[in-house]
């Protein structure tokens, strides 16, 4: 029990180190550059305490739950030898974790507002537009994880996929309406949530470790890279077609 307590104290200390830069930056700019008082000081202390405790528990849970189950699943799929189920799982994981992602919902609504202001769609179509966009992105993330899993199984080089992805982004940029370009580029970054990333990483590394001839370092990573490229293309294609 005493040992657990010290381990916990040590992780709290690590979390404090992680958060120190933000506190320093905000404190410095507020007091030195803008020369303003810090409002609601008590709230800030309580909030920072929450953040500290939260980050510590998250890292604990990561090693206890998310990482092991991601790897156990990868291992079980390889043992079962069913590629089809693995790909269905990969798609479900990508689609399921993205479709309800709050950051994505926010971006989709924003895009619908921009489209409406730009006169692309009328008032009634706004909700429909946002929802279709959201599903487009979620499907593209599902396809990305599927493609990422397939790449590890087949041993394709990630570089070729990335070059292909970049080329698609550039081609789509040429044809896409201007208002959607900034939103599309941002969509790539916001789709991968804090719970998705550890799971997908564990899945990839697990797959690469359990297939002979794959190196977990070169082959295990890369799924998130694909999942941040395809949504860019998907949003721009959506902008072109709508």
């Amino acid at each position: 029990m005493k040992k657990t307590f010290f381990v916990f104290l040590n992780s709290l200390l690590n979390s404090a180190k992680d958060l120190a830069p933000i506190v320093l930056v905000i404190g410095f700019f507020q007091l030195v550059v803008l020369q303003q008082n810090i409002p609601n000081f008590a709230d800030i202390i309580i909030g920072t305490g929450f953040v500290l405790l939260g980050l510590t528990l998250f890292v604990y849970g990561l090693n206890l739950g998310l990482f092991p189950i991601g790897e156990a699943l990868a291992f079980a799929f390889v043992k079962k030898g069913s590629l089809v189920w693995l790909l269905i799982f990969a798609f479900a994981l990508g689609f399921g974790t993205t479709v309800a992602e709050p950051a994505l919902i926010a971006v989709a609504n924003e895009a619908a507002n921009v489209a409406q202001l730009g006169g692309i769609i009328d008032n009634e179509a706004v909700d429909n537009y946002a929802q279709t966009l959201r599903y487009t992105v979620a499907i593209s993330v599902g396809l990305s994880v599927l493609l990422g899993a397939l790449r590890i199984i087949k041993g394709w080089a990630l570089t070729y996929l990335i070059i292909g992805g970049y080329s698609l982004v550039i081609i789509a940029t040429i044809f896409a309406p201007e208002f959607i370009i900034g939103i599309a580029y941002d969509a790539g970054g916001v789709t991968t949530s804090t719970i998705t990333v550890p799971l997908v990483t564990a899945l990839g590394v697990g797959l690469a470790s359990s297939i002979r001839g794959r190196n977990p370092m070169t082959d295990g990573f890369g799924m998130i890279a694909i999942a941040s490229l395809l949504p860019i293309v998907a949003v721009m294609i959506f902008g072109i077609l709508w």
């Binding site: 905000i26 849970g61 990561l62 189950i69 399921g96 507002n113 900034g182 580029y185 190196n215 370092m217």
Partner: protein
């Protein structure tokens, strides 16, 4: 006091579909018992509680202040009326600092760094990977702010960035490439997005001739591109130094 019930329910909405997919496949398709089920469930509960506290804390403490500062730094009162792109130097410095600081605190990046450390047998250090990525995000966000201030089209920057990344990929050590590409996607989540988005919208709404709806976006894209470059560059430099050391022996 703080109302914690609603955030916990909201976060459950995030965690539940993932848990459903995982456990559903494990039990129905793979028909296998989950090893150490008790530990895994405790892990999930800890992740759920941890992320909720983390986000509630951020929203209570850091976000309001960060957003307020982004507004103040970009306001006319602070910058003055007679301006060119150089008058925004505090904005660039703030963008750099806040990009760096939020990336260090980003839980997804921490997760990937831990995994990379395990997989590489300790060769990749958790802390140095995060520092290098944070530096890339910092450069990206300050360049992105400059772009909004100067009013240049985003796709020139992004396409140029792609070209640089591809050239670096050609020369970089093979085993770092996939990890480097991944860091681009993981840097921008819970902590970075809200603060950086506030900075972009603040900039685009103060500067004359910018449309917040069109020019306010795009900072995230910079933040996901530049870490790829910094990680590749770091790997190359380390590689180069090691080789020189070996040659000297």
């Amino acid at each position: 006091m703080v109302n914690l019930l609603q955030p916990f329910i909201d976060m459950l909405g995030d965690v539940a579909p993932i848990a459903l997919v995982l456990f559903g496949f494990q039990l129905l398709i793979l028909k296998q018992k989950i090893p150490n089920l008790k530990k895994v469930i405790i892990g999930f509960i800890l992740v759920w509680i941890g992320l909720t506290l983390f986000i509630v804390g951020l929203e209570k403490a850091l976000f309001p202040l960060g957003k307020l500062m982004a507004d103040q730094l970009t306001s006319v009162d602070f910058i003055g009326t007679n301006t060119n792109w150089g008058s925004y130097y505090w904005v660039y410095i703030f963008a750099f600092a806040i990009g760096f600081a939020t990336t260090i605190a980003e839980p997804s990046l921490l997760a990937v760094a831990i995994k990379a450390n395990q997989v590489s047998g300790g060769f990749i250090k958790v802390w140095s990977l995060r520092m290098v990525v944070a530096f890339g995000v910092a450069v990206g966000i300050s360049l992105g702010s400059f772009r909004i201030v100067a009013g240049l089209p985003i796709h020139y920057f992004i396409i140029a960035g792609y070209v640089v990344v591809l050239i670096q990929t050609y020369f970089a050590p093979k085993n770092i490439i996939a990890l480097a590409y991944d860091t681009g996607g993981v840097t921008t989540s819970t902590v970075t997005v809200p603060l950086v988005a506030a900075l972009g919208l603040g900039l685009a709404s103060t500067i004359e001739g910018r449309n917040p709806i069109i020019d306010g976006f795009g900072l995230i894209a910079f933040a996901s591109l530049f870490p790829i470059m910094s990680v590749l560059a770091y790997a190359q430099i380390t590689n180069f130094l090691n080789r020189r050391k070996n040659d000297a022996l």
